[in-house]
């Protein structure tokens, strides 16, 4: 009996996971287009200041394959890759990393993108719509393995850029 119930629970969870993964919010709901909130409850006077320990907003697109892929498209379209090339960094810091100066939670990333940060990160608030910011965040988090693997694209239709695969070449012996 118990195992049966457990089984049903697991099935439901799988089902829910699938629902989130395959969700396609093609028409963003208008509330997300409203005024930018203070996602991380950050001190407005000191951008880049201490981070509130409890971010209050979560990413509505967490784990959604469609939105992660949209985020990846926008990452290129809005030329994020110009400074954070393929997440590896360049003019801007790399985005594949453990330690985030301004916090790596979705809410912190949201604030970083919307309000900008000193030393070059422009404030994108008011320029790109809120739902796209969340999509970009979903993608950035996927680069760090913080999205389900089943919702993340294995590769793009581009020249292989995965650093691990490039390293592989260097490691091997050459004739």
């Amino acid at each position: 009996m118990r195992t049966g119930a457990m089984g049903i629970c697991v099935m439901c969870l799988l089902l829910l996971a699938a629902c989130q993964r395959e969700k396609r919010d093609i028409r963003p709901s208008p509330t997300r287009l409203a005024i930018y909130g203070d996602a991380a409850k950050e001190d407005a006077l000191r951008p880049g200041g201490p981070i509130s320990p409890q971010p209050v907003v979560n990413n509505p697109y967490n784990g959604s394959a469609y939105d992660i892929s949209e985020g990846q498209r926008l990452f290129n379209w809005y030329n994020c890759s110009g400074c954070h090339a393929n997440g590896g960094g360049g003019i801007g810091p790399p985005l594949i990393k453990q330690h985030w100066t301004y916090g790596g939670e979705p809410a912190n990333l949201f604030d970083t993108i919307v309000k900008g940060r000193p030393n070059g990160m422009p404030a994108w608030g008011g320029r790109i719509p809120e739902y796209q910011v969340w999509q970009i965040i979903a993608f950035i988090r996927s680069m760090n393995g913080e999205q389900p693997r089943s919702a993340t694209a294995s590769r793009q239709d581009s020249i292989e850029t995965n650093p691990q695969n490039i390293v592989n070449r260097v490691r091997g012996k050459t004739k």
């Binding site: 590769r155 292989e160 995965n162 695969n165 490039i166 592989n168 070449r169 490691r171 091997g172 012996k173 050459t174 004739k175």
Partner: protein, 205 residues
Amino acid sequence: MSEVRTLDVSGLKQYEISNQAPLWWGQLMIVFIEGTMFAILIAAYFYTRLRMDVWPPPGDQYPHLLLPSVALIPLVLSCLGTYWAGDSAKKNDRAGMLGGLGLNLVLAGIALAMRIVEWHSLNFNWMTDIQGSYVWAFLGLHTFDYIGDLVFTAVLFVLIAIGRYGPKQRQGVYVDSVVWYFLVAIWIPIYVVIYWGPVIVGTQQ
């Protein structure tokens, strides 16, 4: 008019260890299926090569030729074991079957070990570029079948060794050879493609 004629077959054998057995034909179908698959994959390899300006893709090493070429020897010799086992299966010669299967297992095992050693010297994997994808597809598919067949050979070996066998298992020993010969035979063009391919159709020597 309705005269009933009959055809008495009670004198016919109850089993058959030869290419008349349905099971042998079943194995032949597997050979057709996999042969077609590898043929298409080889064609796809050359099609892809024709679309590329540089081959192998920049950064990929030329494969080492020595080890895989040496590995061909135990591989081809393992067919002798298969043949011996199949022949003994027909004659119901237990020692022969054990010897044949054992020889096959040992030689094929050596070839497999050499192949795995060779893998570690490749400086690309399936994600690196398109050549990597193809080479690893060949290696993966063939090795998968190879290991599968080895496992079944080992199971047959155990069955014969513990004496739990009858004509059906002997038939198994016999028809097992069909797939084994095929796996060895198909490896030769695959070997040529993945190891000599970059040399023969590559852009630089």
